[in-house]
Symmetry: C2
Subunit: 243 residues, 2 copies
């Protein structure tokens, strides 16, 4: 991991861009910390520049509670090389949604499974690098989408102690079996009227999670309309589980 | 409304028992208030004595935020005269649940509709009396079950500005039409594995509510296992809407 830029935000949060090999990422650490900070990995749909305003807002929220936050560009997004197969699957998904047709499992598999296979080892490598910094201690939480990435990470990465999963994207049916293996505390965020997602699939997924402590928060407002107060709720969820 | 007893709780909250005609009730007001307090009506399944520990905990939570809280015994519960028809309907419901059978709509109608018809005017009368006290100002929230009572109150009582509804009891199908007329902000609490409720009915009900701002919180733990943190979430919901 190599830091490429550094700036101090007005609330004292230190923002550092880094690269992990060829993969860009951003790390935010609280302005004043007395001990190594717990870390929240901020998931997103891809495109760090486009997502930056929302990511930095979430990072500031976390930093105000004493948590560090970090994120990584997804394979095929932002400045990273595109995958022709993924672009094609995404176009097929959009076509099905626009036509109001049910989304074929095979489209979801083509779109999501390779992404999960590629992204999860990258996030784990980022975790290795981040946890080697003296200012970051752990435990670690995962927050956001892509939910299928969050599920896989929650299953394979024992350093992740709690996850807030945004149920705003399709999950391959074959990953429901993995969902049953997720036993860390979960908070699942669902936009009830998400125009680009399948509500019943999200409810089935919530039901499938093996966690004894799992909470579903459903709100109105469409895919991008998550209410502001969910940011506070997210911070409180992590405060309960990363302290 | 006649006050029958008064005690100061250790956190300064003033607890007063009252009767409204023949109906017993309890009012809690914050220890120190500078202005007339908003009021939260605390719904419950009936039986003030049995429910007292949970009611007083909810009232203390509310008082800590500067809200008064009040509750009223339900028709046919506690020391109030039993309804033979309601007792019979309740026995039929329990029999169906114990046998793992689907619950007939007509059982739900027999159990819930007369309760709603009788209770709602009583709560409205209590509201008249409570809002005439100088220490209580409004706005007013409704919090808890019986959810069918909360729905009817939200539709017919314009002084109620926000409702936190506990989806822990059956709702007559014909009341779904009323649910569509509920437009005040709602937070709906659902126990995902509630042994005495129908999850799909609760999700359909959440979908039916006409409110633009509605949030569903679903948790594990069975009917009585609502997690402690939902108490804080409830208070924050009312702080957003009753201030």
């Amino acid at each position: 991991m190599r830091f490429t830029s550094e700036q101090r935000l007005d609330d004292g949060v230190l923002e550092r861009e880094f690269t992990l090999g060829e993969i860009p990422g951003i790390l935010w650490t609280p302005g004043s910390v007395s001990a190594p900070a717990p870390l929240i990995l901020l998931g997103h749909p891809g495109g760090l520049h486009r997502m930056y305003p929302r990511l930095v807002a979430r990072a500031r929220h976390s930093a105000a509670e004493g948590f560090a936050a970090a994120t990584l560009e997804l394979p095929g997004s932002g400045d990273r090389p595109r995958s022709a197969a993924a672009e094609e699957a995404r176009a097929d998904l959009r076509r099905a949604l626009a036509a109001g047709e049910p989304v074929d499992d095979e489209i979801v598999d083509r779109l999501v499974l390779p992404l999960v296979e590629k992204a999860v080892p990258e996030w784990r490598a980022a975790l290795d690098a981040l946890l080697s910094l003296p200012e970051i201690g752990g435990p670690v939480g995962y927050s956001g989408g892509v939910i299928a990435i969050g599920i896989r990470l929650a299953v394979v990465e024992p350093r992740i102690s709690a996850a807030l999963l945004f149920a705003g994207s399709y999950v391959p049916r074959r990953m429901f079996e993995e969902a049953r293996q997720v036993t860390i505390p979960l908070q699942v965020l669902l936009q009830w009227d998400d125009e680009g997602n399948d509500r019943q699939m999200a409810l089935d997924l919530f039901d499938a999670f093996g966690a004894k402590e799992k909470t579903l928060h459903a709100n109105m407002g469409g895919h991008t309309g998550v209410p502001h107060f969910e940011g506070d709720d997210a911070t409180r969820f992590f405060a309960r589980h990363l302290r």
